[in-house]
């Protein structure tokens, strides 16, 4: 049913679709590994997509756009930090609020600034990410098998895709090989241990939430500047929630996060490629094929993944004196 070229095309699409999920998933990973649950990934991505689209449209510079996206996401992360860390609020509520806030503010401000119903003007030229051709792509391209894999699937994505993939080993290194990572993981497991070791729980948690903000900012910027050409209202379309699912799927580990998000990207790409499938007499309707990624996720989760244990101190504010 699927020839090699089709497979390459689907995998190529998977990588693109996985990238925003990967950024957001790693973002959630840092936050939740530090014990701050975050269902506000969606809102942060949306805010970032909006501001990056706006700034890129106005300045014509894609990198200024990225910075602006990160800034917007950091603002939201700051609110989350304030609620979850300083004021010991409910982290789930704060996340829900951030999703609402981003959903409303982006359109409100967008309409106010550009009058396009919340959209930003379409981006062109340097205001968007173009594809990057990796070295030797054209040399290797004619080779059988390896050629398409390298030239079509691996090469030719925008800069943020490679940054996202680079973020995986970087995150793993930061978490498992540095002092900061050790403390961050400890804060998510037992903040009292960190506190009594003479390290500020608040400081570490804010740092983690800030990293989460930066990564969500990249996720949103990639949506608006890499995949689409500008911001459109609600353009995250639930990807923040899917990233959250991927995070649990990945058992809060960076390399697994890469696998999980690639799997989600792959399932969506397959659904896109085969809008309906005929099995002799029965034709599976489009709705089924669109639901297939979600059905498969459940099947895989129930069949192979098993129980995932979240960081033990996750979701709880650190309170010494009740």
């Amino acid at each position: 049913m699927m020839d090699f070229a089709t497979l390459i095309q689907i995998l190529d699409s998977s990588i693109r679709l996985a990238t925003p999920l990967l950024f957001a998933c790693l973002a959630g990973l840092f936050s939740e590994r530090a014990g701050v649950f975050d269902i506000g990934l969606e809102g942060k991505m949306l805010a970032a997509a909006f501001l990056s689209g706006s700034v890129a449209a106005v300045t014509g510079s894609v990198w200024l756009g990225v910075l602006a996206g990160i800034f917007a996401s950091l603002l939201m992360a700051g609110i989350h930090g304030l609620a979850a860390i300083t004021f010991r609020g409910n982290q789930l509520i704060s996340g829900v609020a951030i999703n609402f806030l981003a959903s409303g503010l982006t359109v409100l401000l967008g309409q106010n600034w550009f009058g396009l119903g919340g959209r930003t003007p379409a981006l062109t030229g340097d205001a968007r990410f173009g594809p990057i051709t990796l070295p030797f792509a054209d040399v290797i391209a004619p080779l059988p098998f390896i050629g398409p894999i390298y030239a079509e699937m691996i090469s030719g994505h925008s800069a943020l895709v490679y940054i996202a993939i680079a973020c995986v080993p970087a995150s793993a290194w930061l978490l498992y090989r540095t002092r900061f990572g050790l403390r961050l993981r400890a804060v998510g497991e037992n903040p009292a241990a960190v506190d009594t070791a003479g390290v500020s729980v608040t400081g570490i948690r804010y740092a983690a939430v800030a990293i989460c903000g930066v990564l969500c900012g990249l996720a949103g910027a990639y949506l608006a500047l890499g995949l689409a050409a500008g911001f459109g209202k609600e353009m995250t379309a639930g990807r923040g929630y899917i990233a959250l699912a991927a995070l649990i799927f990945a058992k809060w580990r960076p390399w697994y996060a890469l696998g999980a998000t690639l799997l989600f990207g792959f399932l969506e790409a397959v659904g896109n490629r085969f809008p309906s499938i005929e099995f002799g007499v029965i034709t599976l309707p489009a709705q089924f094929m669109q639901a297939l990624p979600y059905v498969l996720t459940v099947v895989i989760l129930a069949g192979f993944i098993g129980k995932a244990t979240p960081p033990r101190a996750g979701g709880e504010p650190y309170i010494k004196e009740r």
């Binding site: 119903g117 959209r119 353009m235 379309a237 790409a269 034709t283």
Partner: protein
């Protein structure tokens, strides 16, 4: 004053609500008049908003979308002196003007253009959600394609099943790329905001796309083959202009009534050759005269030209 009530997608949906908005704006600019407008946010507000608008004395009141058929059946009898205009649906009430568009006819024309412009004999269709209205677009389009090249391939995708399906340019772009990799070199998008991503991806890949509802040729000059026009703007404009004297009853905005059509302007004039134009205009004339009948999906919920 006249009034315009947008449906749930909101007035900037890059689709028919926005088109209605443009018609109202045109009227306001030309006449210097003012009008009221409202955006529905929830199912429960349908009756509420129409009724409240009628209570303010607005006349006529243009209501968008077939979703309001039931609403007008309930509300219109309570305001016999107010004229209502329903876009995209039929209501049999004495004070309602029901405006239907023959989307299949317009789509047929752009389908022909697509087939003629295609070099690979493979064209694409991307719809927002798998609902009858969108199938009507897709079915007309596929018929037009097959009329030119009987063995052409029409790849049809729908974006999704939730409200996000209309607002997901990223998914639109990815679907377009998937169709392109399957050989499509003209893609028709009928998916609201999602379509923006389709047009973008097509332009990036240097193939052609077809816009929908309003003239979207300008979005990527030279890259958008044409746009399937659904002149909701005209319908609104005329209703506003007629004021409370607007005629009631069913109006079929088909090709003959110039309710649908394809867009031709300086942005795409190099893309559409003389031959193409002649062929399409000939077909249009035949459809208008009734000589050529484009299958209407609504009549039997099937499409002879493509399976969804």
């Amino acid at each position: 004053d006249p009034a315009l009530i947008f449906d749930l997608g909101g007035k900037f949906d890059k689709s028919f609500n926005e088109s209605a908005y443009e018609g109202a704006q045109r009227w306001a600019k030309e006449t210097g008049g003012s009008y009221k407008e409202l955006e529905m946010q929830s199912e429960a507000q349908r009756e509420q908003f129409v009724r409240r608008m009628a209570e303010t004395g607005a006349n006529p009141i243009v209501v968008m979308s077939f979703s309001n058929i039931e609403t007008l059946n309930t509300v219109a009898p309570d305001f016999p002196d107010t004229k209502f205009v329903l876009i995209d649906g039929v209501v049999e009430q004495p004070n309602v003007r029901s405006v239907m568009f023959a989307e299949h006819e317009g789509s047929y024309l752009v389908g022909m253009l697509a087939a003629m412009a295609s070099e690979s004999n493979t064209v694409g269709f991307i719809g927002g959600m798998d609902i009858p209205l969108i199938r009507q677009f897709g079915c007309g389009y596929a018929q037009g394609v097959k009329a030119v090249i009987p063995d052409a391939t029409v790849i049809a995708n729908m974006t999704g099943n939730t409200g996000a399906a209309w607002n997901d340019p990223v998914k639109g772009g990815e679907l377009a790329k998937s169709q392109i990799s399957q050989g499509a070199d003209v893609i028709f998008a009928a998916a609201g905001g999602t379509g923006m991503g389709v047009l973008q991806a097509a332009a990036d890949a240097d193939i052609l796309s077809i816009g929908v509802d309003s003239n979207q040729n300008h979005l990527h000059p030279g890259k958008v083959l044409t746009s399937m026009l659904k002149r909701v703007d005209n319908a609104v404009y005329e209703a506003f202009k007629a004021g409370d004297a607007v005629e009631t009853g069913a109006v079929n905005m088909n090709l003959a009534a110039q309710g649908v059509g394809y867009a031709l302007d300086e942005n795409n004039k190099d893309l559409i050759s003389e031959d193409m134009m002649t062929a399409v205009d000939a077909a249009a004339a035949k459809i208008a005269s009734g000589e050529l009948i484009v299958h209407d999906y609504y009549t039997d919920n099937t499409c002879p030209a493509v399976s969804f």
